[in-house]
């Protein structure tokens, strides 16, 4: 089983909110910045990798029951985003790494477990 914690530790990411939820299992992932695309195509227990930082990402992650959100390329979530994430219990993780690198490494981690 791959958890968010495994991903955070292996890739050296930084958790900004909801540390207590890092034991959540990650079953897959979705990458995208168009919220309608993510709404339509992502699944429960996905980790969502994005460059969006405003609070509506929390609404999407919560509705889709994602394991957490990873914000890439050094972008920082708005303070409203973190407040909402705290309320909804959605882990928000940040990194300087590019979306391409994050996705590639998570994909490898998830499939090494197979």
């Amino acid at each position: 089983m791959t958890t968010l914690e495994t991903i955070v530790e292996t890739l050296g990411l930084k958790c900004k909110c909801c540390w207590e939820k890092l034991k959540t299992e990650v079953k897959g992932g979705y990458a995208g910045d168009l919220l309608s695309d993510v709404m339509a195509n992502s699944k429960e227990h996905d980790v969502w990798v994005t460059r969006q930082v405003h609070q509506n990402i929390v609404a999407v992650a919560s509705l889709k029951e994602h394991a957490g959100i990873i914000i890439v390329q050094g972008a920082q979530p708005d303070s409203d985003t973190l407040a909402k994430a705290q309320k909804e219990g959605i882990p928000v993780i940040v990194t300087e790494l590019s979306e391409f690198e994050v996705v590639g490494r998570i994909y490898k981690l998830l499939h090494e477990q197979d």
């Binding site: 309608s36 509506n56 509705l63």
Partner: protein
């Protein structure tokens, strides 16, 4: 008697975007509605909510739990839709930059609503507003918890 909730929405109120969808989803979960139906309704409710917030002055979203389906009904007063055929094509959007910057306005909203609906109806009058009704069928094994209570 099957009306489960009515929610008011204000145009441009992106702060609370997703709240109505979340309430609808939780309510259906509490009623024991199957997960696959809830997944579809969550997408439909969210896109409907975003459409009202993005394009209307104000609007309402109602949802109904019927013995064989869940229905989302939305009515708004706003700019309406000039050409519904175009609006239903993926990629077509009249969103301004402020909407696009938030990751909306990709022209996927109405196509997604239609795609996840088993039955879909939309009527719009430019300058007046839009009416939308979307239904998702329940599988045959589901019986609403209220019905079970009524029969007890």
């Amino acid at each position: 008697m099957y009306l489960e909730g009515v929610f008011q929405l204000r145009g441009r109120d992106f702060v609370d975007a997703g709240l109505v969808s979340s309430r609808i989803k939780n309510s259906l979960k509490n009623k024991g509605v199957p997960e696959d139906t809830i997944r579809k309704i969550a997408v439909i409710a969210f896109e409907t909510e975003i459409n009202i917030i993005s394009y209307a002055k104000e609007g309402t979203i109602s949802f109904y739990l019927l013995p064989d389906r869940v229905v989302i009904e939305a009515e708004d007063s706003g700019e309406g839709i000039e050409n519904i055929e175009m609006a239903l094509q993926e990629g077509f959007s009249t969103a301004d930059d402020s909407i696009r910057e938030m990751g909306f306005g990709a022209g996927m909203g109405l196509p997604n609503i239609r795609k996840f609906s088993d039955d879909f109806e939309i009527v719009s009058e430019p300058g007046r507003g839009t009416y939308l009704k979307s239904s998702v069928m329940l599988n045959g094994n589901y019986r609403a918890k209220d019905d079970q209570d009524d029969n007890a």
